[in-house]
């Protein structure tokens, strides 16, 4: 099923006899959803783009690449640097805005500009009763009623089918510089990134790629970028000589080191300073983004990583692989009960990607 209007989608949901598997471009879904395929690509199109207000409203089925090209034409972009997961997951197809939101997909700039959920300012969606709900809007500051926008971001299609999304945007920088420190062990690398992120020189990304280097990015107006890069170099001197290098950010964003490789891929969100020890306990290969707050791990297939690294504060998601465990980190009982309660209220018949997150 591939509705081309919100009304059509609402009718499909109202008439659904069983579970629906919701798909945007099919490029980044994780876990196992069962049910009849419901595609949102027909719900495409820019509803409003105001460069002077840094605002975009578009159908959830709009293709990410087309939107990024449109924004680039005005010297603007989505702030959160959307990862392209096709290489990691071995998928084809074209990512959609709805899929990006459903996964709360956020790349290296998350540490400076926030996640997808932080730039998302409005949604429309069809709930499990087939009713159209709107929340948020097209303005940057809005505390009118509950923030269901955040709740829908990262809900992986389990609360409703997104039909329209609104973002605040950022201008593209005039200049970008990446600095690299060579040969640091993970704990030193995380310490170096913490020093940079704790400085006023405002890096827009900080990642450690074992074997390749520890990378810091500075973006903005030319003079400012030059100045901040110079200050960061001095600040990082105790960790080595920081050289200016070509951008590694697309590869880091898309977890390129693990493309086409055997093994399970896990994504850990944790306190940055915990990352080196947790990665060591995990074994396998690691890629550290977000100053250490995000760790991608390539591990032996089939292992229960959570058991291996326990106890740790944060969460681990199985992005790709064969481990016979829940894809999403099981939550403590009261939180799981709240999440189940919300799903039961928004989707009383259990139509949307049932069992995916719970």
């Amino acid at each position: 099923m591939r509705p081309s209007t919100e009304e059509e989608l609402a009718e499909i949901v109202q008439g659904a006899a069983g579970p629906l598997r919701i798909r945007g471009g099919g490029t980044r879904a994780i876990g196992h959803a069962a049910g009849d395929l419901l595609e949102t690509v027909g719900l495409a199109g820019v509803r409003l783009y105001e460069p002077g207000a840094l605002t975009l409203v578009a159908g959830a089925g709009s293709r990410l690449a087309e939107i990024e090209a449109l924004l680039a034409g005005e010297g603007q972009r989505l702030p959160f640097e959307v990862p392209d997961m096709r290489g990691l997951l071995g998928r084809a197809g074209a990512s959609t805005l709805g899929g990006v939101v459903a996964a709360n997909a956020s790349g290296p700039r998350r540490i400076q500009a926030g996640a997808c959920r932080d730039s998302l300012i409005g949604v429309r969606f069809v709930d499990g009763a087939g009713q159209v709900v709107k929340n948020g809007g097209r303005v940057m500051k809005n505390v009118t009623g509950y923030d269901l926008v955040k709740l829908l971001a990262g809900s992986h299609g389990t609360l409703g089918v997104l039909t329209e999304v609104a973002f605040k945007l950022l201008p593209m920088p005039e200049t970008t510089v990446t600095l690299a420190l060579p040969d640091l062990a993970p704990d030193r690398a995380v310490a170096a990134m913490a020093a940079a992120l704790g400085s006023p020189f405002d890096p827009s990304a900080a990642a450690h790629w074992p074997g390749r280097g520890t990378f810091l990015r500075v973006e903005g107006f030319e003079a400012s970028v030059r100045y901040r890069a110079m200050r960061l170099r001095a600040l990082l001197a105790p960790f080595g000589v920081a050289e200016e290098v070509e951008s590694p950010w697309e590869a880091i964003r898309d977890v390129a080191p693990f493309h086409g490789r055997e093994g399970d891929v896990w994504r850990l969100s944790l306190k940055p300073s915990d990352a080196p020890a947790v990665a060591a306990r995990a074994g396998g290969e690691a890629l550290f983004d977000w100053g250490g707050g995000l760790v991608w791990l390539l591990c032996d297939p089939g292992i229960d990583l959570r058991a291996r690294i326990a106890p740790f504060a944060g969460h681990a998601t199985l992005i790709r692989g064969s481990a016979p465990v829940a894809v999403f980190q099981p939550e403590p009982r009261p939180l799981a009960a709240i999440a189940a309660g919300l799903r039961a209220r928004f989707d009383p018949r259990g139509l949307f990607n049932p069992g995916l997150m719970a």
């Binding site: 959920r117 159209v132 505390v143 009118t144 955040k150 809900s155 201008p171 300073s273 980190q329 709240i338």
Partner: protein, 477 residues
Amino acid sequence: MHMPPPDAGVLARKSRIVERLLAVLPEDAVVHDEAETRAYECDALTAYRCPPLAAVLPRSTDEVAAVLRVCHEERVPVVPRGSGTSLAGGALPTADCVILGVARLNRVLETDYANRFIRVQSGRTNLSVTGAVEADGFFYAPDPSSQLACAIAGNIAMNSGGAHCLKYGVTTNNLLGVTLVLMDGTVVEIGGAHLDAGGLDLLGVICGSEGQLGVVTEATLRILPKPEGARPVLMGFASNEVAGACVSDIIRAGILPVAIEFMDRPCIRATEAFAKAGYPDCEALLIVEVEGSAAEIDDQLARIVEIARRHDPVELRESRSDEESRRIWLGRKSAFGAMGQINDYMCLDGTIPVTELPRVLRRIGELSAEAGLEVANVFHAGDGNMHPLILFDANRPGDLERCERLGAEILKLCVEVGGCLTGEHGVGVEKRDLMSVQFSPVDLEAQMRVKDVFDPRWLLNPAKVFPLEASGVRRAG
């Protein structure tokens, strides 16, 4: 504005309820004497007052949980209260409620510069969070103008913003985790020192839920390294339209100032008379502040000034020292106080798309003339968050009602042009009955379902946010 009649059964059981509260709290943490409960009869929306049944001032998460268990069992409504600075009546009591004040929960629990967060108890004031880390070069970004007094608990409840959120975001963008006590006394930990949610983003919906989903007792907040410096430029323009166009051009040019503040003529005149900041005599004034090193500031201000020159400014005053910066901000920061000297006023908080600024200001002018009440505009222009101040005389019969009608018209206008009722103050009771202007019954139902899950008996701050007729069945239990 109406509140539901108090539950006669609860009122009749007052002594038993107080006894049960005294059984789980020290004596000095339970306020039940009628003279003393008056201290909690209102928040900063002083037009409405009602003493609560009792007030409690717990000192720990365990005590909060114990209080909520008692109230849950006794089916007593609970109104959480931070510092009572809500402009929307978020902490307004009803006669049958227990006020749960978090003022005694004010400790810093953990400061972690390597991971850039601070964990505090929720009664701590906004400014004192920054106070705890500024000697080490850090700050907490959201800066509501009540920051000297307002509590983090209230900031989370209202998802508070401030003058600098154009660059740093509002509370929800700076909140990493909470300890939340549910109405039945269950304590849950949501989020922490890590950046994103493992399952549904419950933190995202708790922030801004106006104390209706649970009581936040602890919070993990993101702290940021302080910029090297900051300096404003003041610009005067011949019309609101031109000033609005200048704002839009600055944003289009790829410059992201930390603040763009706008004042119109009535506001300039009043603050000038009060604060004598030396503002130019003009129709509209912008204060734009940028951050960075001295050279970065010079570079950005030069770009901004160049854009401003294209709009024929009647005044361009770039700050060159801390003293000049202080003078530029003086009028803006004393704007509300200045208005309070002249008149009673009502402060609105709608947000509009920034491109609609000129049209909305013109229409506000017309509505103001029709109502016969002056409106002064002062607001965060970069993000479209307006604060029209309606001037009235509380001692003149009918003036408050006229003011409220004009306020409602202005907020409807904000919604009509694509904006919203409230950008940072919250709905509370003040905008509660206007919610159906912005939301359909289905939209409101979707929001109320969230409360059904967190607080099935609808005991937490129940008569706020949603129009009474929309929430009636649920509140009746």
